[in-house]
C-alpha cells in the first residue's frame, strides 16, 4: 500500500518508469481514485503552497497554473518582460519532477518554422513518399509544454497549435496521432487584436496578468531575487521538494473527470447529475447572472465552449481549494475570462466587486 502522503514518482525516476506510471493512471477506476482523492488533494495543495514561497506575490498565478494543470486546460500568462513568467513555469515543472524528455519549451517568433516546434521531416521516409516528422523531443511528445510569445508565431504554427490544443492530435503522413500533452502554459507580452488570432485566444479559457510586484512588495522582491540568484549560482533547486508529481495531477484529473461524468438515479426516477451534487441552484443562477452582466454592461462575451470549460475549472478549483461543493468565492475565477488587456483589467476589478469579495 503506497503512502498517500508522498508522491509516487520522485524527481530521479527514469522516463520509462514515468511512462509506466502514467499509463497505469488510465486503468484506475473511480472507486480506487476516490480512495486516493484526499491524499492527492493534500499533496497537490502542499506543492502549490510550497512553490509560492519561492515567488513574491504570485500565489494567484500558481493556484491558477495548478487548477489548469489538473483540469488539463491551457493557461495564458500575460505580462511585460521581467514579471517572472518563464521562471514560474520552469520551477513549476521542476517541482513536479517532470523530466527533460517530457518537457518542451520554445520562444516563438514570426520566423519560427513548424519543424522547430513539431519536429523536422524525416528525409529518408520522405524519399519513400511519406511525410513524417521526427517528433521525439518536440512538442508532440512532451507532456508539459511552455510556449513563450505564442502570438508572435506564424500561421503555419498557429494552425498546428489549434489542432493540438483542441483535439490533442497532430498529423503524421496524413494520419492523426495523439500527442502526449497534458499541461500547456503559454506566455505573451501583449494580447494582439488581429482577427486571425481570435481562434487561438479562445482556446485559452483563462488568462492571467502577471503584474509587476515592486510597488507592493519591494523589500520582499529584493530578498527573493537575491535568494534566486544565489540558488542559480550554486546550482541549487530547493523548490524540488517532491510534494506532488505529474502522476498526482493526472490521477486528480481522472478522478474529477469520472466524478463529473457520474449520474445517479434517484428513487423518484429523476437523475442526479454533477451540478446537482456540487453546485447549488442559487450559485448556478448567480454564475448565469454574472456572465449576463458582463456581457450586457461591458460587452465581455463568453462563448458556449468556454462556459462548459469554466464549469470544469470551477469544479476543479472547488475540489482543490476546499474539497467540496463550489462556493461563491470560486466564482472569482471569472476574473480571468477576458480576451484583451482592457477586459482583463476590467474583470480583475469588477468580478470581485459584483461578488462582494473585494
Amino acid at each position: 500500500m503506497p503512502d498517500p502522503m508522498s508522491a509516487p514518482v520522485t524527481a530521479g525516476a527514469s522516463i520509462d518508469e514515468l511512462d509506466k506510471e502514467i499509463e497505469a493512471v488510465d486503468g484506475l477506476d473511480y472507486e480506487t481514485l476516490a480512495g486516493k482523492a484526499q491524499g492527492l488533494r493534500d499533496r497537490i495543495n502542499r506543492f502549490r503552497v510550497a512553490l509560492s514561497h519561492y515567488f513574491v506575490g504570485r500565489e494567484a498565478i500558481i493556484d491558477l497554473m495548478t487548477i489548469c494543470a489538473v483540469a488539463q486546460e491551457p493557461l495564458l500568462l500575460v505580462g511585460v518582460p521581467g514579471t517572472a513568467k518563464s521562471d514560474l513555469v520552469t520551477k513549476f515543472r521542476d517541482a513536479l519532477g517532470i523530466p527533460a524528455e517530457d518537457y518542451f519549451e520554445y520562444m516563438l517568433t514570426r520566423f519560427t518554422e513548424p519543424s522547430e516546434v513539431m519536429g523536422p521531416i524525416d528525409i529518408n521516409l520522405l524519399r519513400e513518399g511519406r511525410y513524417v516528422r521526427r517528433a521525439q523531443g518536440k512538442l508532440p511528445t512532451a507532456r508539459m509544454v511552455f510556449l513563450d510569445e505564442i502570438f508572435k508565431s506564424n500561421s503555419a504554427i498557429l494552425n498546428s497549435l489549434l489542432t493540438i490544443i483542441n483535439e490533442r492530435k497532430f498529423y503524421q503522413d496524413g494520419q492523426p496521432i495523439p500527442v502526449a500533452l497534458k499541461i500547456l502554459v503559454a506566455a505573451t507580452n501583449e494580447i494582439p487584436e488581429h482577427a486571425e488570432l481570435a481562434a487561438l485566444k479562445d482556446r485559452f479559457c483563462l488568462k492571467i496578468v502577471a503584474h509587476p510586484v515592486q510597488d507592493d512588495h519591494f523589500f520582499e522582491l529584493i530578498d527573493a531575487g537575491l535568494d534566486a540568484q544565489t540558488q542559480r549560482d550554486l546550482n541549487l533547486q530547493p523548490w524540488k521538494e517532491g510534494h506532488a508529481s505529474l502522476v498526482d495531477l493526472l490521477e486528480a484529473h481522472r478522478y474529477l473527470s469520472l466524478q463529473m461524468a457520474r449520474r445517479e438515479l434517484q428513487p423518484d426516477g429523476t437523475t442526479t447529475r454533477d451540478r446537482h451534487r456540487y453546485f447549488s441552484d442559487e450559485l448556478l443562477r448567480e454564475l448565469h447572472r454574472l456572465l449576463k452582466t458582463l456581457a450586457r454592461e461591458d460587452g465581455v462575451f463568453v462563448s458556449d465552449r468556454k462556459v462548459v470549460k469554466l464549469y470544469k475549472l470551477l469544479r476543479t478549483r472547488a475540489w482543490l481549494i476546499h474539497g467540496g461543493r463550489v462556493e461563491r468565492e470560486d466564482l472569482a475565477l471569472l476574473a480571468y475570462l477576458g480576451e484583451t488587456r482592457e477586459e482583463l483589467a476590467l474583470l480583475e476589478d469588477k468580478v470581485p466587486k459584483l461578488l462582494g469579495l473585494s
Partner: protein, 1155 residues
C-alpha cells in the same frame, strides 16, 4: 345586472381601446370569471347604458342577465388584461422600483445596490394584510447585476419600471401591459402591475396570451420614502485627534546651478573682458537687422583682482518671432527661465533643486523692472553629484531702464567716404553715463542720458544716409516718413513700393513694415498709421493676398485723412488699382462689370474690388475739380440706375465682405444716393449683431495682427487643433451607455452629425484638410439617407445645413453668415419639412449654435415688429424734428407708465445716433437720468445701450453717470431678477469703462456682484458668475475664470435631469471657455468629455439623431474652435481698440451724414 361575455383578452383589449366599453365603466371595479370554454365573464359595477349595450351587441359581445357568484373582484377593467413578456431590458434602465419581502429581502437588495455604487435609494416599508413586511426601494439606473436578480423567476425579489416616465403606475420589469400607459393612479398611491402567470387550465389550440392569467394589481401607498442612510448604520473607523504644531527643525536648501537637459538660445550676453572693443567689432560685422534687435547697457564694476573698476557691457536681444540672434562673443551667455522672462540662467543650466516658477520668482526676482541673471561664482568649488556639476552662483541684476537700443548709437557709413569716416568713429564711442557697481549687486541707474536724437534728427540722418549710394540700406522704408516730409497741400501722393520687385524682397519689406507697425507706440487712430496701412495694402496686393490687402486698405480709409498726408481720394485710387491688378482688369472702371457676374461665380475678392470702386466713386464725387484732375481717375459718373443696382448688389452679397469694407461701401452708396438713412441703420444693426456673435477674426483682422505678440499664437492654435484631434479620437473610442429608446435606432447618423460638428471645428481652426476629411466621413456614414431622391427629408436638411456651415467656416465667413436660399439649398429643404418632421429638425436647431447661432436674434426686428412702429423712424433724415420728438417724449416721461417710459428710452438710445452730437448729448444725459425709473427687467438692456453711446461719444462724465445707475441697480433687486443680465451688462461695459479710467470702479462692482452671487448652487447664479469672471478677464485677471468654470462643472451633473437648464448651462460654458485661455479651454473640453459615456436621451428625435450627444460634442468643439483663444494679450487689446474705432466711425457717419 348585466354580465358581458367576451371571447378572449384580445377582444377585451379591443373593446377597451375602442371605447366600446364606456370610459366611466372602464374605471370602475369589475368582477371577472371564466366560463367552461375559457371565455371571459365580466360583471361591471356600473350600469351600462342602453345605447352602449346595443353597440356591444352589434360588435358581437354576448350580454347575459344575472350576477356572477364566483370570480375575482378587480379594481378596473384594465386589470383583466394580462401582461405580456417583452425583450430582456438593457441598461441604462432609468428609475426602477424593487419590491422585496422581510428584513432579509431589504438587507439583501439594499446591501447589494450599495456595494455596486447605488447609494441613491429611496425606501418605504409596509406591512400587508397578511402581516408580511413589504419593502419598496426606488433606485435610478440600478446596476444590471441587481436587476438580473429581479428578472430571475426563482428569486423572490421583483422589479418594476414606470409605465410612463415620472408616473405612478409601474409594470414588472421585462413585461408590458397593453393599457398601462392609460391607467392613472390616485394621488398618494402607486399601482404595481405584476407579470401575469400562465393559466393552470391550458387547453390545446389556445393561444399563449389566452393562457396567461392576469395577476392582481398591487395598490401601495406612495411613500413616505426615506433615505438609505436613515435606516443604515455606518461603522466608522477609529478617529484620531491631531493638533497643529511646528517642526522642530527647518530644512536648509542651497540653490545651485546644474546642467539642464535641454538648451534654450542665449538672449543675454554679459561681456566682462574687452567689452567695448567687442561691441565695436560686433557692430562692424553683423547685419543691421541684428543690431536693431539688440539693446545694451554699460556697467562699471569694482575689480577686486586688479583694483579700480572695469567696464562691462550687458547685451540683450529683443523678443522676436525668429528668436534671438547667435552672436560670436567672448561673453557669458544667458537664457531666460521658462515662465520667468526677467530671470536669466547661464545657457544649458538649470536651478537645482527644481523649485516651482512662483517660488523661484519670489526668491530671486524680488524687484520688478529689473533684469536678473545668475552668474556662476568665480573660483567656485564645484561639487560632483551623480555625474552632474553643481555650481554656486551670484545673483546679479540691472534695471530695465538701463538698456538702450544699440542701433540708436550707430550710424552706418560707406567705407569709401573718407570725409565722414571721422564721425563714424566717434559714433561708436559709447558716451553713456557710467554705472558704478557696489559689491556683487550691480548698481542701477537710469538709461544712458545722452540726449536721444529727435524723430526729425533721426529721420534726417536716415535720409542723409539714404541719399548716398549704399548697398546696406534697409529694405523697406516706411511710407510714413515720406508722407511726413512732403509738403502737405501740394502733393498728397502716396509713395508706395513698386510691386515689380522679386517676391522675396516684397515679403522681406512686408515683414519689416509689419514689425514696425506693431512696435509703433502710437494709438491705432494716429494719422501716422494711415500711410503705413496703405503701404501694407500695397505690399499684400503685390503678393496677391487679396483679403489681407483689403483689410489694410479699408483701415487706411477708415479714419479722417491725415493732414499733411495722402487724401482719401488718392488712397481709394490706389486701392482700386491694386484690386484691378489682382483680378487682372486693365482699368479700375472695368470692375463695375462685376455687378453682372452670376451669383455662383462671385467670390469675396470680386465683391471687395467693387466695394473699392464704390468708395472711390464717392470720393470723386466729393472732391473738387482740382483734386479730381490731379487724381487722374478714369471713372464714369454713377447714375441713379447704376447706384440702385449697386445697392441691390451689396444687399445680396455684402455678407462676403469684412465689416469695415462693408460699412465703407454701404455708407458711400448711402451718401451718393442722397443719404439712405434706413439702409445705413440696417447695415449698422447687421454689423453689431455680427460683432456680438463673433465676427470671424480671419475675415476681419489682418493676419500679422492676430499673430503678433506672445509665445506665438500659431503654437496655441496648434495646441487647440491637436486637442480637437484628441477629442475626436476619444469620441470614436468612447462607448456610450445608450438609453433603451436610443439603442433601438442606429448610431451612425448621430456619429455622422458629430463628425460634421468636428468638421466645423477643424475648419474654424484652419485645418481645412482634416475638416474636409471629417465632412467626407460624415457624408459616407449618412449614405443614402441624404440622397436627394430617396433620402430622408430630416437627414437631408440637417446634413445640408451642417455642410453649408462647414463650408462657410472653410471660407472664413462669420458663424452667423446667412445660408443660401437656392432651390436645392438648406433653407429650401427646411421649408419643405412639415409637421412632426419639422418639429424633429427644429428640436435639433434649438439645441445647437452651429446650425443657427442667431436663432433668437433678428437684426431687422426693429423694422418689422408687430407692435406700433416708432414714429421717429420716418424722421431719420430730419434731425431737428427727430430731436424735438425725443425732447417731447422725455418731457412727458413723468406721465408715462413705467413700461411706456422704458419703450421711449429704448427708442431714444436706438436712434440717438441719427442726431448730431450737440443735439444728442443733452438728450442722452436726460435719458440716462431716467433709467433708474424704468422696470427692473428692462433696465439691463437700456443701461447697456446707454453705456455704448456714452463710449462712442467719449464722454467720461456720461460714462460715470451710467455707471452710477448701474451701481445703484446692482445693489437693488435687479440682481435678484436678472443676475445673468446684470453680470453681462458689466462685462460688456468693461472695455468702455477701462478706456475711461473706471477700471477700479468696475473691479469693485464685479467683486460686489461676485460676493452677492454666493452660494453658486443655482443656474442663474452660476451663469452670472461666468459673466462676472469674463468681466474680470477683460480687466486682465483671466485666472478668476477658473472658479466660475468649476462651479459650472459642478452644477452640470445636477442639471442632467432638467434638460432645459442643462442645455442653457452647457451653452454658456462653451461660450465662456471659447473666451478663456487655451489652457482653460482644453481643460474645460476634457471635463465636458467626461460626460460623454453617460450622455443619452429618450427623446423622439432619436429616430434620426441623439440630440444630447450632438449638443455635448458641439459644446466641446465650440470651446476649442475659437480663434480668440490663440490671441496674445497684445492682440486682444488691439482688437478691443479696433472694435472701438469701428463703432466710432459708424457712429460718426450716422451722426454726420444727415440731410
Amino acid at each position: 345586472m348585466t354580465t358581458l361575455v367576451i371571447d378572449d383578452s384580445a377582444a377585451l383589449r379591443a373593446a377597451l381601446e375602442s371605447a366600446l366599453i364606456p370610459a366611466e365603466v372602464q374605471i370602475a371595479s369589475v368582477r371577472l370569471d371564466r366560463d367552461e370554454d375559457g371565455r371571459l365573464l365580466l360583471e361591471p359595477s356600473v350600469a351600462i347604458g342602453r345605447g352602449d349595450r346595443r353597440r356591444l351587441r352589434d360588435a358581437g359581445v354576448e350580454l347575459r342577465r344575472g350576477k356572477l357568484r364566483t370570480g375575482a373582484e378587480l379594481s378596473c377593467w384594465a386589470e383583466a388584461l394580462p401582461t405580456h413578456a417583452g425583450a430582456e431590458p438593457r441598461p441604462p434602465l432609468g428609475e426602477i422600483l424593487f419590491v422585496s419581502e422581510g428584513d432579509e429581502g431589504f438587507l439583501s437588495i439594499s446591501g447589494e445596490l450599495l456595494r455596486l455604487g447605488s447609494e441613491d435609494q429611496r425606501l418605504a416599508f409596509f406591512e400587508d394584510e397578511e402581516g408580511r413586511q413589504r419593502n419598496l426601494c426606488r433606485v435610478p439606473d440600478p446596476p444590471y447585476y441587481a436587476v438580473l436578480r429581479a428578472l430571475d423567476p426563482d428569486d423572490p425579489l421583483r422589479a418594476f419600471a414606470p409605465a410612463r416616465p415620472g408616473g405612478r403606475v409601474w409594470v414588472e420589469l421585462g413585461h408590458a401591459h397593453p393599457l398601462a400607459h392609460r391607467v392613472e393612479a390616485e394621488a398618494g398611491q402607486l399601482i404595481l402591475i405584476p407579470a401575469s402567470a400562465p393559466a393552470a387550465r391550458g387547453r390545446p389550440g389556445e393561444t399563449r396570451e389566452r393562457q396567461a392569467e392576469p395577476s392582481s394589481w398591487l395598490r401601495v401607498p406612495d411613500g413616505p420614502w426615506t433615505d438609505l442612510h436613515a435606516v443604515s448604520e455606518v461603522t466608522l473607523p477609529r478617529s484620531t485627534s491631531w493638533t497643529a504644531t511646528e517642526p522642530g527643525a527647518r530644512l536648509s536648501v542651497e540653490l545651485r546651478l546644474v546642467r539642464a537637459p535641454t538648451q534654450r538660445p542665449a538672449d543675454l550676453w554679459v561681456l566682462r573682458e574687452r567689452a567695448l572693443e567687442q561691441i565695436e567689432e560686433l557692430v562692424r560685422t553683423v547685419p543691421d537687422e541684428v543690431v536693431a534687435q539688440l539693446r545694451f547697457a554699460i556697467v562699471s564694476q569694482a575689480d577686486p583682482l586688479r583694483g579700480g573698476s572695469r567696464t562691462m557691457v550687458v547685451l540683450r536681444a529683443r523678443h522676436s518671432a525668429k528668436g534671438p540672434p547667435a552672436l560670436e562673443l567672448d561673453a557669458e551667455t544667458y537664457a531666460p527661465v521658462a515662465q520667468i522672462p526677467d530671470l536669466h540662467l547661464p545657457v544649458a543650466t538649470t536651478i537645482d533643486p527644481p523649485l516651482r516658477p512662483a517660488k523661484l520668482r519670489e526668491l530671486l526676482v524680488r524687484e520688478p523692472d529689473k533684469l536678473i541673471w545668475l552668474a556662476p561664482e568665480e573660483g567656485d568649488t564645484k561639487t560632483e553629484v551623480a555625474g552632474s556639476r553643481r555650481r554656486n552662483f551670484v545673483r546679479e541684476s540691472l534695471a530695465e531702464a538701463a538698456f538702450a537700443p544699440l542701433s540708436d548709437w550707430v550710424d552706418y557709413l560707406v567705407g569709401a567716404d573718407g570725409d565722414i569716416l571721422e564721425p563714424w568713429i566717434r559714433s561708436t564711442i559709447f558716451d553713456l553715463d557710467a554705472f558704478v557697481s557696489i559689491g556683487v549687486e550691480w548698481s542701477e541707474g537710469e538709461a544712458p542720458r545722452r540726449e536721444r536724437p529727435s524723430r526729425e534728427d533721426h529721420e534726417r540722418r536716415r535720409r542723409r544716409t539714404r541719399e548716398r549710394p549704399q548697398p546696406s540700406e534697409p529694405a523697406a522704408e516706411l511710407a510714413v516718413s515720406e508722407a511726413q516730409d512732403q509738403a502737405p497741400a501740394e502733393a498728397p501722393v502716396v509713395e508706395l513700393t513698386p510691386v515689380e520687385l522679386p517676391r522675396s524682397e516684397i515679403e522681406e519689406r512686408l515683414d519689416e513694415l509689419e514689425r514696425s507697425f506693431c512696435e509703433l507706440e502710437a494709438p491705432l487712430d494716429d494719422p501716422i498709421r494711415v500711410p503705413m496701412w496703405a503701404e501694407l495694402g500695397n505690399l499684400q496686393a503685390a503678393l496677391y493676398r487679396s483679403r489681407e490687402a483689403g483689410l489694410c486698405w479699408s483701415r487706411a480709409l477708415w479714419e479722417p485723412a491725415p493732414k499733411p498726408g495722402p487724401s482719401h481720394l488718392e488712397l481709394a485710387r490706389r486701392w482700386v488699382e491694386s484690386e484691378a491688378g489682382m483680378l487682372g482688369y486693365p482699368r479700375g472702371a472695368d470692375l463695375l462689370g462685376i455687378t453682372d457676374v452670376l451669383a455662383g461665380d462671385l467670390d469675396d475678392q470680386m465683391v471687395r474690388a467693387l466695394a473699392a470702386v464704390v468708395v472711390l466713386a464717392e470720393q470723386l464725387q466729393r472732391a473738387n475739380e482740382e483734386a479730381r484732375a490731379r487724381a487722374q481717375v478714369d471713372m464714369p459718373e454713377l447714375d441713379g440706375e447704376r447706384l440702385a443696382e449697386l445697392q441691390r448688389f451689396f444687399t445680396a452679397h455684402g455678407r462676403l465682405l469684412d465689416l469695415r469694407t462693408l460699412w465703407l461701401a454701404r455708407s458711400a452708396l448711402a451718401r451718393m444716393t442722397g443719404d439712405d438713412r434706413l439702409a445705413l441703420f440696417q447695415t449698422r444693426d447687421l454689423i453689431m449683431s455680427t460683432l456680438r456673435e463673433g465676427a470671424g477674426l480671419s475675415r476681419n483682422i489682418p493676419a500679422f495682427i492676430r499673430s503678433h505678440g506672445g509665445e506665438g499664437p500659431a503654437g496655441d492654435l496648434d495646441r487647440l487643433g491637436e486637442e480637437l484631434v484628441r477629442v475626436r479620437n476619444e469620441f470614436s473610442s468612447t462607448r456610450r451607455q445608450r438609453s433603451l429608446i436610443e439603442s433601438t435606432h442606429p448610431e451612425e447618423p448621430t456619429i455622422a452629425y458629430v463628425r460634421l460638428v468636428f468638421a466645423w471645428g477643424f475648419a474654424r481652426l484652419g485645418r481645412s484638410e482634416t475638416a474636409t476629411r471629417e465632412l467626407d466621413g460624415a457624408t459616407e456614414l449618412l449614405g443614402t439617407r441624404v440622397d436627394p431622391e430617396r433620402g430622408d427629408p430630416i437627414h437631408r436638411v440637417a446634413y445640408l445645413t451642417y455642410r453649408a456651415r462647414v463650408q462657410q467656416a472653410l471660407e472664413g465667413l462669420p458663424p452667423s453668415a446667412p445660408l443660401s436660399t437656392d432651390p436645392g439649398g438648406a433653407i429650401a429643404a427646411r421649408e419643405a419639412l412639415e409637421g412632426f418632421e419639422r418639429y424633429k429638425y427644429e428640436r435639433l436647431v434649438q439645441l445647437t449654435r452651429i446650425l443657427d447661432p442667431r436663432q433668437d436674434i433678428d437684426p431687422f426686428r426693429n423694422y418689422y415688429r408687430d407692435d406700433e412702429p416708432f414714429e421717429g423712424a420716418a424722421l431719420l433724415t430730419r434731425p431737428d424734428e427727430l430731436a424735438a420728438l425725443f425732447d417731447r417724449q422725455l418731457a412727458s416721461a413723468e406721465e408715462l407708465t413705467a413700461e411706456a417710459r422704458a419703450a421711449a428710452l429704448g427708442h431714444l438710445f436706438e436712434y440717438l445716433e441719427a442726431l448730431p452730437e450737440p443735439l444728442a448729448l443733452p438728450l442722452l444725459r436726460r435719458g440716462v437720468a431716467l433709467i433708474g425709473e424704468v422696470p427692473l427687467d428692462a433696465r439691463a438692456k437700456l443701461l447697456r445701450n446707454a453705456m455704448l453711446l456714452a463710449g462712442y461719444y467719449d464722454r467720461s462724465e456720461l460714462v460715470a453717470a451710467v455707471l452710477e445707475v448701474i451701481d445703484a441697480s446692482v445693489g437693488s433687486a435687479l440682481l435678484e431678477i436678472d443676475p445673468a443680465g446684470c453680470a453681462e451688462l458689466l462685462t460688456r461695459s468693461a472695455p468702455i469703462l477701462r478706456r475711461n479710467n473706471f477700471a477700479a470702479e468696475l473691479s469693485s462692482l464685479l467683486a460686489r456682484l461676485e460676493q452677492q452671487l454666493e452660494p453658486l448652487d443655482e443656474l442663474p447664479a452660476v451663469i452670472a458668475r461666468l459673466h462676472v469672471a469674463a468681466g474680470f478677464a477683460a480687466l486682465g485677471e483671466p485666472s478668476r475664470l477658473q472658479p466660475a468654470l468649476n462651479a459650472a462643472y459642478a452644477l452640470l451633473p445636477e442639471l442632467a435631469s432638467a434638460p432645459g437648464n442643462y442645455q442653457i448651462l452647457l451653452r454658456e460654458l462653451a461660450v465662456a471657455l471659447s473666451r478663456s485661455t487655451a489652457g482653460q479651454a482644453i481643460a474645460g473640453a476634457r471635463s465636458l468629455m467626461e460626460r460623454l459615456a453617460t450622455t443619452t436621451d429618450t427623446m423622439s428625435t432619436n429616430s434620426h439623431f441623439c440630440v444630447s450627444v450632438i449638443q455635448l460634442m458641439e459644446a466641446v468643439v465650440l470651446s476649442l474652435a475659437s480663434e480668440d483663444l490663440a490671441l496674445s494679450d497684445w492682440a486682444r487689446r488691439w482688437l478691443e481698440e479696433d472694435e472701438h474705432l469701428l463703432h466710432r466711425r459708424i457712429h460718426r457717419d450716422l451722426a454726420a451724414g444727415r440731410g
